[in-house]
Symmetry: C2
Subunit: 311 residues, 2 copies
Amino acid sequence: MKRSVNVFAPATVANVVCGYDVLGFAVNAPGDEVIMRLRDEPGVIITKISGDEGRLPYDPAKNTVSLSVQHYLNHIGRPDVGVEIELFKKMPIGSGLGSSSASTVAGLFAINTLMDSPLSKMELVPFAMKGEEMACGYGHADNVAPALLGGFVLVRSYEPLDIIKLPYPEELFCSIVFPQIDVPTRDARQIIRSKILLKDAVVQWGNVAGLVAGLYTKDIDLIARSMKDVIVEPVRSILIPDFYKLREIAMENGALSFGISGSGPSVFTFTRNEDDARIINEKLQKHFLWLDTESIAYRSPINAQGPIILD
Amino acid sequence: MKRSVNVFAPATVANVVCGYDVLGFAVNAPGDEVIMRLRDEPGVIITKISGDEGRLPYDPAKNTVSLSVQHYLNHIGRPDVGVEIELFKKMPIGSGLGSSSASTVAGLFAINTLMDSPLSKMELVPFAMKGEEMACGYGHADNVAPALLGGFVLVRSYEPLDIIKLPYPEELFCSIVFPQIDVPTRDARQIIRSKILLKDAVVQWGNVAGLVAGLYTKDIDLIARSMKDVIVEPVRSILIPDFYKLREIAMENGALSFGISGSGPSVFTFTRNEDDARIINEKLQKHFLWLDTESIAYRSPINAQGPIILD
């Protein structure tokens, strides 16, 4: 049995433009790392957190990583096991890129590995959702499921939980720009209207169906045509300065799609190759600079593996 | 060049439970037949209509078949061509099975055949939609597209029109029962609320995405799990006597799903084989009889071809 393990878990883009609360995918970068070591007494403790600028709690009863790891240990009937956790935040908090998911998934994958993997990745999803509930008051799966399973994921239903892995064209590339403005997930959810027009919903589920069809048939044009959001984006885009100008810049530079990652403020595009993603990132960052806003850019293919054990 | 042609076009099930206004499929039976003959002078005339109990107009300016055929001739620059049409209604009107679509599609396929097929079936869709607009005040495509193309069809978008053929498991069988009660399409549309809850819409597009994924992977269980409608059915089901009891009967007898076909009052199920479809039809018809309601039952695999030329 291993005594310690070092795990990386990926950032994720939830919603994916037309699939509010049901679609998400993982990227190779950024992501978080966790080093976990068994210790001789019970209890989950956190010995180190870096990269969080002091924003995350060391208190095991308040940190989502320790909480979900303890929840897991209780569930598998091993509350006697104790571990110490070092958390290396290698991605920004509050970016809309599933930051808490990445940490939680890294922690759960680490403890499951140390326990000789009694649960599958799919079976870990509810534990990670519990972590999400603690992090942002809402136990959603559209970040944790792709972070755990890798790839493109559909959360068909929450009750009962029904998660489906979707295929995707391997050439699909993703560019992400995180403008350093503050948009708490709670606020981003609250500004969305609770009632919508049926005719808008019909447009949306036509597009969700089109996106899923495009993913199965690896039809890049259909994917691009389907990635429109007439419901959430018109509201959330007001939180991101110059959103429609940014879209114009992205689309003019070869983006297949442009939208908000999760609840924002990160924006992302799909492109046909890495070069397009790089150029789009440069142009979007330049525009943010012109708006006096610092930003961080990432580019990646869709991540296929989910969490991995590092050397 | 042919001087006359005899065409069959299939009935269709629109909405398919979770895909209101975006999904539809065709069945082998019932359907309508059209015999069309070129004549020596311009103008589209109707010389015979049978099976409609006198409900359809002979006036070419009022009949959707003649209107859409004339619209087609004008569009291809052949207003000089004249035809006479015999329409054999072999399915009930106002059943929710795309009755007007079947007639219109048969007429359009017939005239296109007589003109040596200048347009593809996909290109005929807008002409058939025009017919639907005249028949029920709303130019939808979820009946005419599957009636023309056969199979399972997604109408991703109306503006621009974007229609995608979906695969399906070949063993899927469909049972249909039409209770002879009157539910005009216009009324069935009007009782639907124009505003819905976002949380219901999320459930719905999770299911639409799940159904499309199930069709691509031919995963019968996923198809069955996804076929739930939390938006339209709760309202429209009040138009069908004992709807939830009928569902119970269908599900207890092996149905994968149960729902309203189009705007009703026909109900349909998917089953794994013809035997289940037959037994379900018997049980549902028996229940309708107990409700003092006459009904007509059909069963069919999903129709693959759309319209066909008869000998």
